[in-house]
Symmetry: D2
Subunit: 378 residues, 4 copies
């Protein structure tokens, strides 16, 4: 099926395999008149880019995102924006030994069964490399969100069971822009006690993973501020429903909490409900157990969610598996792999959330007659 598109009005369609000549996307439905250039894509692309340190695969890719259409004299024209990212450092030979074996924890077996054949080089379409196209598209969405005063940022918040504290300064909110320099390293560089010790603990954990030829799970936290009230629709197109789809469409995601998340299942109503109060005449919530969504719509509060990633399935420790020819075998994967997914995936979480929000903004414009009259009768 045609499963490579996401969104209704602000819609991205991606293409490309890990070891083909290129991958990329078409962003259709972006409003005209938005200032946009390749410069705007660079910071987010850099955060996802491989080859940048201890948490990342050594595969080096420039990941230059080139805009082929939809922008004229520095502004979007309302037409589809094609973004192309060339593959320059594919070492397909590394994967020859995987042609006839199904890697545990990967899509290989399902893909081959469903489609009758598969591109075995680096996971083909099911490679994490596919997310480069999502990040390019999400970067466009982020430009739109910022224009409307919305801040959408995700960060690695745990590696295994080691929690990584949020940066505490005002600069933390600018993660999207600033994270370029330290992409691929942990976003904990301040002298602050617990952050520094988290960094040390993570470093030790990863060193151990490498030694053991293993990998480890991780957690990413998303925060969005500045949302108008009422994004999302009350039944099947709930904002949380679309965020959930977006998150679970990222490979390796196995769990999601919105607001209190699973903890809400343990609470009493009197604990979990957020009282409405007035602040300067505005309706606000006294607490934010809801995570910024009520009845499937944004409630004006900070939108917060947590995404749980399984450990990278490609490990060099020996694993039992079967061949495409139907024989049991043992496999050690010696390619170029991230020891932990969440470090580079945080920006993918952010990109997917931005895509959901841009679409929700556009879909919500006609919610009431008054809005149509604003556009068509003035």
């Amino acid at each position: 099926m045609a499963g490579s598109s996401f969104g209704t009005i602000f819609r991205v369609t991606t293409f490309g395999e890990s070891h083909g000549p290129a991958l990329g996307c078409i962003v259709d439905g972006c409003p005209a008149g938005l200032p946009l250039s390749e410069e705007d894509l660079r910071p987010m692309m850099a955060r996802r880019r491989p080859g940048q340190g201890a948490l990342s695969t050594p595969r080096k890719e420039a990941d230059e995102a080139r805009i082929l259409s939809g922008v004229f004299e520095g502004k979007t024209t309302g037409t589809p924006i094609c973004i192309l990212i060339e593959n320059t450092n594919a070492r397909s030979g590394d994967y020859d030994h995987l042609r006839e074996v199904y890697r545990p924890g990967h899509a290989d077996y399902c893909f081959a069964t469903k489609y009758g054949l598969r591109d075995h080089r680096g996971g083909g379409r099911s490679s994490g490399r596919e997310t480069a196209a999502r990040v390019a598209a999400g970067a466009v969405a982020q430009v739109l969100l910022k224009r409307l005063g919305i801040r959408c940022a995700a960060r690695l918040s745990a590696v295994g069971n080691i929690a990584i504290p949020a940066e505490t300064t005002a600069e933390s909110a600018t993660a999207t822009d600033a994270a370029v320099e330290n992409a691929g390293s942990l976003p904990v560089t301040t002298a602050e006690g617990s952050a520094a010790s988290a960094e040390a603990a993570v470093a030790a954990l990863l060193a151990n993973c490498r030694k053991e030829g293993d990998s480890i799970g991780s957690t990413v936290t998303l925060s969005v501020t500045g949302l108008p009230v009422g994004l999302g629709d009350p039944v099947f197109e709930k904002l949380d429903a679309n965020l959930a789809k977006a998150m679970f469409s990222i490979g390796a995601v196995k769990g999601l909490d919105i607001g209190e998340g699973r903890r809400a299942a343990l609470l009493y109503g009197s604990e979990n409900n957020d009282a409405f109060v007035l602040e300067n005449g505005q309706v606000k919530k006294a607490t934010n157990h809801s995570g910024g969504i009520l009845g499937g719509m944004s409630d004006g509060d900070e939108l917060s969610l947590k995404v749980y990633f399984k450990p990278t399935p490609s490990i060099s420790r020996a694993q039992r598996t079967v061949t495409t020819g139907g024989k049991e075998t043992e496999l050690s994967i010696h390619g170029r792999h991230d020891p932990v997914i969440g470090a580079r995936a945080a920006v993918v979480v952010e990109a997917m959330a931005a895509l959901v929000l841009a679409d929700a903004l556009l879909l919500g414009m006609g919610a009431k007659l008054e809005n149509l009259e604003k556009i068509y009768r003035e």
Copy 2:
């Protein structure tokens, strides 16, 4: 926006408010030739029906689901199946005092802000009663799934922090059919030790909730067996992505785990990967940490997930809130409400999962050329 439809080929569109004359759905895209009658809808409708015991609101609704189209001489014709459920016991007067106040934990405030007005009676479109239409649609999907040998069943697995053990006999697999008699009571009626003690603990917890005018969170577990390998698509239309959207489209859901779920974020790759093995010449997994989905596609194993529900937001304890006129006030809600959502919502989880699976089956038919040749060249 048009947010009341779900699915691409097997598509349901619902309508109706809690206190309008009726609610219902149109199931479009169901294959022709499927034996179907109103009898087939009854067991699942009964499990969701209110007014059945300690875990449920006292509102009595017959919830007779009437088929208005799409079935001829006992079989589906391939045309849209409209199912109508009349509201017979709406006591709208109960809600007069809510016309001018926003209930904490509910959609009221977001709905009124987005649309500029709202039907305040019983939550209007955002009422849990809307799920009656989903269950009717899901019952149709279940008939299709059974026909293809697929078993899809959900059950209440925890109330607050009290885990409810799964039934251990072979009969447990028939929950879908048999749960009619004990719907609304806990699905744990055997003399088995832990189950009985769970039942007693839950009863005590709920008695306490009622006394305190409070409610409690809950957990629902879904299990699907008999799936072919390869349902779902590798990128945005992953099977887990669509299940996640389906689950978070149910009001009050705040968390989701698929397979190991959030626990996978704590594991090593060598722990979380499922080895492939051969059983009677068939590819199987030695373990099922994946929960039956790899790379966004069903892997042939049992599909298992857990859905976390927040406590019912309607409680009779006093809560702070604001009025539509912009004044702070205090509110006690004395309507007819479930003290715990998961008891009646389990069948909604099951229905939504069945809708996702029916659609995935249809969407996957053309995955390979060989399949088209089977249909069009024989």
Copy 3:
């Protein structure tokens, strides 16, 4: 496949067979705050209603369209509007002899082959009666269009080769409202010369059809005024493309001309181009060969198109055909049928056009950043 929905944001889903208990539709995505009642549906329903005179089948149906949801205290709430129309005068027995024969010019043979079975009573889902649900939905769209100053009206403009002149008075623009009284008769009741003679000629033609047990083709003309410039999108979602789909989705339509239509294929560019001119400082076109659409977008001029209907395929003259069992036979159809389709189908053309336009208005709201800022930053 799920082929019973139309539109992206303003979306209608229909259900129902000619001889089932009821048919109807769900209109999803209608903006909230629009004054709407069952009264608003009546005039258009009346124009389509059968049993009203020489041009129409004698089957009598009240065609009362009942609103079951989506309206609260006289206004739309932004939630799906379900409209139910009961079948009261189905005489299924009339169709017993068609159970085992394929009617020429009808869907019978294709339907049975595709789905493996069919509801043979009155055409089942492929009956013209299905359009009752479209008209109800279109009536909702018309209320929205009027609110925004848009006039959308269709009329029967030819029966066979007899052209029916448009009414020439100012009242003609109000056809939508006024046509109730003379629905089913020709919309030419003035004393005006050519109109009266057209009426007489049509009457003679139809009398002859009845005598011969035959039917005749017809033409419907649509005119829309008051459209903003820019509805529709430049590539696949051109306004003319969606209008064309809408028109050919009406059974029996075989041809369509937009503006000059097929005549444009005979013209020189210098003849067919419409010069742009200024009128009171506004850009206007000196002529309207384009029919109000340029580059797939409304150009601010009158939108005009012509729809060509084949003659009613149900005729009482003997026809050769084959049985479901695979034998040749002869068939005379003695049911209750319109001798000419365009008379009652004009309002269906109008309804479908209104649905396309309502959707285009909603889809176009986010075309430029400036519009988003109007909605979200004020």
Copy 4:
């Protein structure tokens, strides 16, 4: 809005402007296992390519269509197929004088009004050059159709009022493959009397157009054979409805006839109905007034339709128009333009039809339960 995608399962998304660096498309949903190479795209690309003779613009473009993804070792993998076509001969300077003027008959004015800005170079997104991407996608669809025994071919059938006879030999059916050599010249090269005289008449007409700085309208005829019975769905997704949308999505199309088309509006039912007969035990139609579609579904007969193109709006004769600054002016367009659209557009008609048919084949696979059982239970 996101209007650059076409199709539901077999879905193409296009991008690119006339004078940007490249244009292209993503074909998503193509079944896996289909042999495909860039060679397969060449014949159709060549038929659309500019710069090939009297009927075509002198702009030279190689129109090399490069496949970037979705094909592995000579076969489709079920993943999106990205096809890239570089613009090599854009002479944007030619269009500087059009920056501030709206060309009559073009999208300029509507585009600028809708989006607030426009790429004025060569029509930008609204250029006929956009169809190169459609043809590349259509070529993929054609490969699939051929594999299933379906022949889909379109040809220029009239220039102005000069009809061009169909080639009469058996080779005519192979137009798709053979038309490469004579693309851009008229497909009438045989010695046959009327064809030769048509060619002479067309040549004279075009010579006159050039002399006068004018253009002329044209007609394209499509024929499809080998279709299974039952493609298309009975209500909004009728096969004719989707073909109509496809055709009117091609710029400059103003009219469409399916089968008898508008002539059916003049006929009696007894003339227009096609009798069913038996041929070797198979159900066939004695005539084909329907054009191969009944009740919105293919009826097994030849699918035939005619598309009417307006004359090229870019002419060098002086025309009245207005500037973007709101002043009246006069314009003569001296770019590189086709004098007649249908010559190069025939292959676009063919491509769009192939896309509709490929999608209808995939959508129809699940029409009956029996088909699901063939795929999932064997």
